[in-house]
């Protein structure tokens, strides 16, 4: 899976959790909580959704690693190849 495919998955799961966010309006460096206004329950839902979609579990302490789309793609790509 390449980075662009991972990015599409991340954005589509963000949209499912928070349908008020249009993936086309999201910048890679938008902070999920500060810029996109996801709350902590949304983050938990996103983590669960990414686990279901990609089989990757993200421990609580590593949530800051996915706090922007760009960081999430890097983190998930690392887990997929690693």
């Amino acid at each position: 899976m390449n980075d662009s495919e991972i990015r599409d998955i991340v954005l589509s799961e963000i949209h499912k959790v928070a349908p008020d966010i249009d993936p086309a309006d999201v910048s890679d460096d938008d902070h999920l909580q500060d810029d996109l206004e996801l709350d902590s329950m949304d983050i938990l839902s996103l983590v669960t959704a990414l686990h279901e979609r990609l089989g990757i579990s993200i421990p609580e302490a590593e949530y800051p690693e996915i706090d922007t789309p760009a960081k999430a793609v890097r983190y998930l790509a690392g887990k997929i190849t690693g």
Partner: protein
Amino acid sequence: MCTIGKTPEDCAVACWRPAELGKARSAHELGRELLTGLPGDAINIGFEAVDRHVEQGHGDQVALVWLSKTDERKAISYRELAEMSSRFANLLHTHGLTKGARVFVAMGRRPELYAAALGTLKAGMVFTPLFAAFGPEPIRTRMEIGDANVLVTTKSLYKRKIAAWRDEVPSLQLVLIVGDDAPEGCVALGPALEDASPDFQAVRTQPEDPALIHFTSGTTGKPKGAVHVHEAVLYHAMSGRDALELQPGVTYWCTADPGWVTGTTYGIISPLVNRVTMIIDEAEFNLDRWYGILQQERVAIWYSAPTAIRMMMRAGKEATEGFDFSALQFLASVGEPLNPEAVIWSHEVFGLPFHDNWWQTETGGIMIANTRAQDIKPGSMGKPMPGIQAGIVEKDNGGLRELGDGEIGELALRPGWPSMMRTYLHEQARYDKCFQDGWYLSGDLAMRDADGYFWFVGRADDLIKSSGHLIGPFEVESALIEHDSVAEAAAIGIPDETAGEVVKAYVTLNPGQTPSDALERDIRGLARKRLGAAVAPREIVFRETLPKTRSGKIMRRLLKARELGLPEGDISTLEVDEK
């Protein structure tokens, strides 16, 4: 059920030592001892929180340590806070505002928020905090009900949530924008504060003058504005000391946002009145950051909430390894009942248990608490505070009957404590309905055990408690039916292991509309835009019909019982069933 026993040392150092209690004293008496007061029997919350400490020689003590999202650390002394709040008070006067004017604040946790709150109170005006993560609808509704005269907010929040309807709130005279520049029709707060004088004599407000309006949700109708008066500070002072162990000089961190009542009462007023050093973190919950703050700032007293505690539990004990929590002395929790596992977990991990306590927007302060000198029964909210009389009651033949130990009924309080709400703004009838036969009725179901400990059982009404926030189903439903496809909506709370409850909505569609995942997302997206993430439903399901009574009222209770697999109870009034 295990009990966490307290050591003789805990009992000896505790601020409130029930074992040594002599003659019962009123909350008024206990609170008055901690305050200074102003001439002519006047009392002003802002003066008690900051100015008097400066007058009494403590101006150099750090009042706030502000930790920004970008890791800036700024310590603000009581003198600086007194000056900042005085500048704010003068600024309000410059704009022609007078005693009693309503000042609303919607912004994140930044120093200006604290200056605005305290300056408003010192100026004898009325302070209302709004949760900055609310969508435009909840903000507008509350400002309209509260006849807001002033709004303090940020440029980003203003543009996204307020500018579109700002001119439609006729009472609104002044919008102050944090920072050095402001959109058209607004005033930039930074330069305005610089131009204002740092000297201001706190207005000699009388004990019954309004000071705070806190909004809370109702089952039906619009949110209610609970009005609190300056005399409430007696109870803010006393309960902070006796329930939370706030004493001069201790380092204290209340993680609640000032947009809610806990974050104002125990995140601004009570700690400052008790002259502590407060930690303020601008960022949202982040495990490593929080543990780091406890360590680096040597936090002694920590007041947090079940949702955050359960998130810490999910990360496990290993996430705490390498951190030094040795400065911690007392942990407390509020917002919703703290499950016993969380109390026991914190005892193991931090060496100290979280002390759960119970209160409401209407009570203005902690009413029932697990305190330092008292053994904890995990899962219980503790015992009534000094000067507070609580009971369990049941409606009986048009009156109220007090129930005995072990019986479940409505948790009720004998009115008269200083921080009790004085009315719901413009809704005296709704206020009057809260009182019967000399009791204030809380709307919570509870039980008292033979040792005098109170246990939360559930809500007596349809209100939803999510992440410690009380959400009115009506407000959620009103936003849902604004969607073109939605005919009717019902919102209920369903159990969630982290948030306590989350909002789930049931909707019926207008003719010609077909349920689909895309439509579900579209409706949920609109609700989030209007209400904000904290209030909007996390899940929406489609129904052909919703269960209704003969009078056409949607039976949320029935939807909830079915969702939880509980008995359906009395359905004799059911006319149309769910399909």
